[in-house]
Each structure stands twice: as structure tokens, then as C-alpha cells.
């Protein structure tokens, strides 16, 4: 079953067509990697899928419903969560608080003015589970701003998971991580695979080909090829446009 269906999406900045009639479909349960050179429009695509940015035209359908006009909050509620290429966390809050705030977002009203939120066991327990899942259980009390870069990348993922998404949009989760940190994160994504549908944007080809069920290649705002990792590796157009320098 198709979970995400993008049709003829367009977004331009002046004369620059960053998303240029892009179509894409992601099946329920798959890990769909999107690769492409710097500036291809990958982050801009994620921004339009998550509702951060409105496309000029085209449609985004999620679980059968047209969500093109929904704001970010509604899309999160519908089951779409994302991580950011550039770490976007609450630096003054602890790791646990960062994740608990995401849990709170889907657990009843936030117009509560009296009960200490730090003592809401339901929020903390779920947040701890997410932290444990990404391997940050022993960092729960540390302010996000004081964490190492790799830990912040793990926390990004924990926050997104705390939204209990049906579809997780991951914008270069390995960006800037060292080999050991990357290994932890790749292991984590492998464990999540099958449990939650994922769109993974990543430059690390080894990770992409190890994890992805399907790969789409984005160049100049268009998907030029889409298929299994094996097929993409062999695709002559892809090799010419992109893999040429990197994989051969």
C-alpha cells in the first residue's frame, strides 16, 4: 500500500526551480532512501513534505488524504515526523525534557497550568523509552546544548520517534557524525526498519545501500531514477549524473 504519494511538486526561488515537477511514492513499511548531490533540493523536499514550506503547485497525499494545505502541527498529528539536517533541539532543556515535550504534544492538552510536568510519569516513561531506543538512556538529565554532536543526532531521532510517526522523514541523520557514532545510528535505523516507514536522505552511500529497500535519485529538483539499491547501482543515468564520482 502506498503511504506517501507526491505528484508533480514544484517550488521555485526566483528563477531557480528547486523542486521541479517531482513525483515520488513511498510504500507502507519501506525504508526509502533519497540520494542526490549537494543543492539537489533534498532538504527543500522534506520541508514541503513536513509542511514547513508550501509548494508552488502539486499535491502531497498521505495515507490517502490530501495534506498539501495542512500545517506542520496537523501533519505531525496525522503521523508525519521529521528530523533536521541541522540539529534543531531545545538547548536549555535536558534530553529527557526535549523528548517528553514531543510526547506531551500528542498526550492531551498543554493548557495545564498547575501540575508539575516534570512529575508526569506517563510522559517521562515514554520519553525514557525513546531515549533508551536511541541509546541515550544514561544521558537523560543532560542539557541538549551540552551534548556531543553525535548525541545530539541521536536525540534528534528520539524526539522524532516520540511523535509515534507512521512516516519518519530523516534529513541526513548521519551528518557530521564520526564513524562510531554513525555505526550506532545505522544500527538504530536498521532496527527501526519495518516498524516505521522512513524516507531517509543520506550522503553516506554505504549506509544507504545497506539500509534502503528502495532508492530514489534526486538531481536538480527531479527524481531521475527510482528502484532497488541493486538496480540504482547499475542505472547508467544515475552513474553518469551522480554516482559517477562517488561509488566507482
Amino acid at each position: 500500500m502506498t503511504l506517501l504519494q507526491v505528484e508533480n511538486l514544484r517550488k521555485s526561488y526566483g528563477a531557480l526551480a528547486v523542486t521541479d515537477g517531482l513525483s515520488l511514492s513511498v510504500a507502507e513499511g519501506e525504508l526509502h532512501a533519497i540520494i542526490g548531490p549537494n543543492g539537489a533540493g533534498k532538504t527543500t523536499l522534506i520541508a514541503q513534505l513536513s509542511g514547513q514550506l508550501a509548494p508552488d503547485s502539486g499535491t502531497v497525499r498521505f495515507g490517502g488524504a490530501d495534506i498539501t494545505r495542512l500545517d506542520m502541527a496537523s501533519r505531525v498529528r496525522a503521523g508525519l515526523a521529521r528530523s533536521f539536517q541541522i540539529t534543531t533541539l531545545m538547548p536549555a532543556m535536558t534530553a529527557l525534557e526535549n523528548v517528553a515535550l514531543a510526547v506531551q504534544g500528542r498526550s492531551g492538552s498543554s493548557f495545564r497550568f498547575w501540575r508539575p510536568v516534570a512529575r508526569e510519569a506517563a510522559l517521562n516513561d515514554q520519553a525514557m523509552d525513546c531515549l533508551a531506543q536511541v541509546g541515550l538512556a544514561d544521558r537523560a538529565g543532560r542539557p541538549a546544548g551540552a551534548m556531543s554532536h553525535g548525541e545530539k543526532r541521536q536525540l534528534e531521532l528520539a524526539v522524532a520517534l516520540a511523535c509515534r510517526p507512521r512516516l519518519l522523514l530523516l534529513d541526513e541523520p548521519l551528518a557530521g557524525t564520526g564513524p562510531q557514532e554513525a555505526e550506532v545510528l545505522v544500527g538504530l535505523l536498521a532496527a527501526l526498519r519495518g516498524e516505521v516507514t522512513m524516507v531517509l536522505i543520506e550522503h553516506d552511500m554505504e549506509a544507504v545501500f545497506a539500509l534502503a529497500d528502495r532508492v530514489s535519485v534526486l538531481v536538480y529538483g527531479q527524481i531521475i531514477a527510482s528502484g532497488t539499491p541493486g538496480a540504482i547501482r547499475q542505472d547508467p543515468a544515475v552513474r553518469a549524473a551522480y554516482l559517477g564520482e562517488e561509488a566507482c
Binding site: 514547513q52 505531525v76 498529528r77 515535550l101 492538552s109 495545564r112 498547575w114
Partner: protein, 314 residues
């Protein structure tokens, strides 16, 4: 208990000791100063909610002091002298003004937000300047202080001080609960990263607006008390310089900590009295002190205390 509530409670207790001290050394004016301190501490706390916890730099917050003060004058003119009713009226007017001005100004951020809140503050200011029935520019003096439970207890400076102090304690206690509750965490989240808040399903506007209204209502209560303290009501309470002074109190005390907001108000009012008695150029001295704080302890007095008490996260 962490250091912050302890510091706040210590401040409240110290203040409660002022009237007996004033009596002991035979200087009743001390109680009057302490009353002013407590009034401005309430106003500073209210501003800290939006500025310190929501990163909303309102440059029109004195308008709410004025709305509260004029609520006293208007109510008294119509024979309503009860303090609680006047507070409700002031807070109600503030809620309406905050809801309308907030709904507009909160669509902007940064410098634009500062300018729009300033513009709304000035609109309120000039509205009362043009209100000739209440003395226009000059304002109007009150015939008497408000009544409480039908009696004129507040005419006694000491009794009035304790009422103001009780209001301060309530404001502090209420805000302490609020910023540690779900609502407070969301508000802090919008301060830390609006984009991240949206990405986990929040719409920041509604929480900011709610905080803006709550903040205005609390500040109006301070305005009701300020009018009673001076027994005078004038547009000067809502001048933009007064809004600036409230921000200075937070800078001095430590933005984003309730105890710091209180301490900042106490120190500012105290220094004003002290330096003004010393020299008419006291503002120069005050400026130098502010400069020193900003340079050496950007987190204000609260930051200084935190540094002196290592290991305790306030």
C-alpha cells in the same frame, strides 16, 4: 527544593520583616519603599513570563500597569471601592487589551514585535492623556485607598504593605507553578526553538497569546496596587520609559528566573530611592551599575547567585 524557590522565599520573608524593622528604627518611610518594591516585583514577574520564558520582548508592558491604575480611578468614580472588584476590573480590561494587541503583535517576531508592542503601549498612553474626565495629562488623585471587605484597612500603610506582599507571594507562587507545568514547558519550548516546536506538533501562537494575556492581567493587578500606593493615577504610569524600566529590572535580576525578576525589581526601586536621595544625577549612577551587571554577570543577579552556589541548578 532547588535554589531558585529558596531565594524567592527568602526575599519574601526578608520583605515581611520590613515593617517591624521600620517601627524599630522609627522610619515609616521604609515600609512605603518596600511597598513600591513589592508592587514593581509583581509587574516584573509578569513581564518575565513573556520575556524570560517566551522570549517575547514587549516594550509596551507599562500599559498594563496603567490599565490597572485607571481601573481604580474609574471604579472609584462609580462608587466601587472594593480592591478585589477593582483588581478584577483591571485584569479584565488588561485581558481584552492583551488579547487584541497580542493577536496582532504576535504575528511578528524580533524587532517588529518590539515596535508593535511599543506602538500599542503608546496608543494606550495617549488614550488616557486625552481622557479629560480623568485629568488628561495630569491624571487624577484618588479620594482614598480602596476598601477590603467593606473596610478602609488599606489606609494603614503597614496593612497595605502586607496586602501587597500577599499579592506578590500569590503572583510568584502561581507563576512558579505555571512555568513548571505543561504550559510553561511549551512556552519555554517556543523560546528555545519555534521550528522544533512546530515539528513536534505545536502551534506556538496560541500558547504565546495565552501567556501574553496572563502576563497583562497580572501586571494590571500591580497597577491597581500602584494607584493605591501613590493614591494617584496618571498616564505617566504607562509611559514607554516605564516599560523600559521593567525590562531593566529583568536585566538586572536575571531574565527567565522568577526569583531574579523579583530581585531585579527590589534592587531597581531600592537604588532609585538611594541614589535619588544622594544626587539628582542618580540615573547616571544607575546606568553605570547596570553596565557593570551586563558586562560581568549577563545572567543578572540570579546568575551571580548561581555562580556563587555551585552545583545547584536554579
Amino acid at each position: 527544593m532547588s535554589a531558585a524557590p529558596k531565594a524567592a522565599i527568602a526575599l519574601l520573608v526578608l520583605m515581611a520583616l520590613v515593617p517591624p524593622l521600620a517601627a524599630a528604627i522609627g522610619d515609616p518611610f521604609l515600609t512605603v519603599i518596600a511597598t513600591r518594591m513589592a508592587v514593581f516585583a509583581i509587574a516584573a514577574l509578569s513581564l518575565d513570563l513573556i520575556l524570560g520564558y517566551g522570549a517575547l520582548v514587549s516594550f509596551g508592558h507599562a500599559a498594563y500597569l496603567g490599565l490597572g491604575a485607571y481601573a481604580v480611578a474609574v471604579c472609584a468614580r462609580h462608587g466601587i471601592t472594593d480592591l478585589v472588584v477593582q483588581m478584577a476590573a483591571g485584569a479584565g480590561a488588561a485581558a481584552v487589551f492583551a488579547a487584541v494587541s497580542g493577536a496582532i503583535s504576535l504575528r511578528t517576531r524580533g524587532i517588529y514585535f518590539i515596535m508593535i508592542t511599543l506602538a500599542f503601549g503608546q496608543m494606550a498612553y495617549f488614550f488616557f492623556v486625552s481622557l479629560s474626565a480623568y485629568g488628561g495629562d495630569d491624571g487624577t488623585s484618588l479620594a482614598a485607598r480602596s476598601t477590603l471587605l467593606g473596610r478602609d484597612w488599606l489606609e494603614n500603610d503597614t496593612a497595605f504593605f502586607y496586602v501587597v506582599l500577599a499579592c506578590l507571594a500569590l503572583a510568584y507562587g502561581g507563576l512558579h507553578r505555571l512555568v513548571h507545568a505543561r504550559f510553561g514547558r511549551v512556552l519555554i519550548g517556543t523560546r528555545e526553538s519555534e521550528l522544533r516546536m512546530r515539528a513536534i506538533g505545536y502551534r506556538p501562537f496560541r500558547y504565546r497569546l495565552a501567556a501574553y494575556v496572563i502576563s497583562g492581567m497580572i501586571c494590571a493587578v500591580a497597577g491597581v496596587l500602584l494607584a493605591n500606593q501613590t493614591e494617584y493615577v496618571s498616564p505617566a504610569y504607562m509611559a514607554w520609559t516605564r516599560s523600559g524600566e521593567l525590562i531593566v529590572m529583568l536585566l538586572l535580576g536575571g531574565i527567565g528566573t522568577l526569583a531574579g525578576a523579583m530581585a531585579g525589581a527590589l534592587v531597581t526601586v531600592g537604588l532609585e530611592e538611594l541614589l535619588a536621595g544622594w544626587s539628582e544625577h542618580w540615573r547616571l549612577g544607575f546606568g553605570l551599575i547596570l553596565l557593570a551587571v551586563v558586562l560581568w554577570s549577563p545572567a543578572g543577579l540570579a546568575g551571580l547567585v548561581r555562580r556563587l552556589l555551585p552545583g545547584d541548578r536554579a
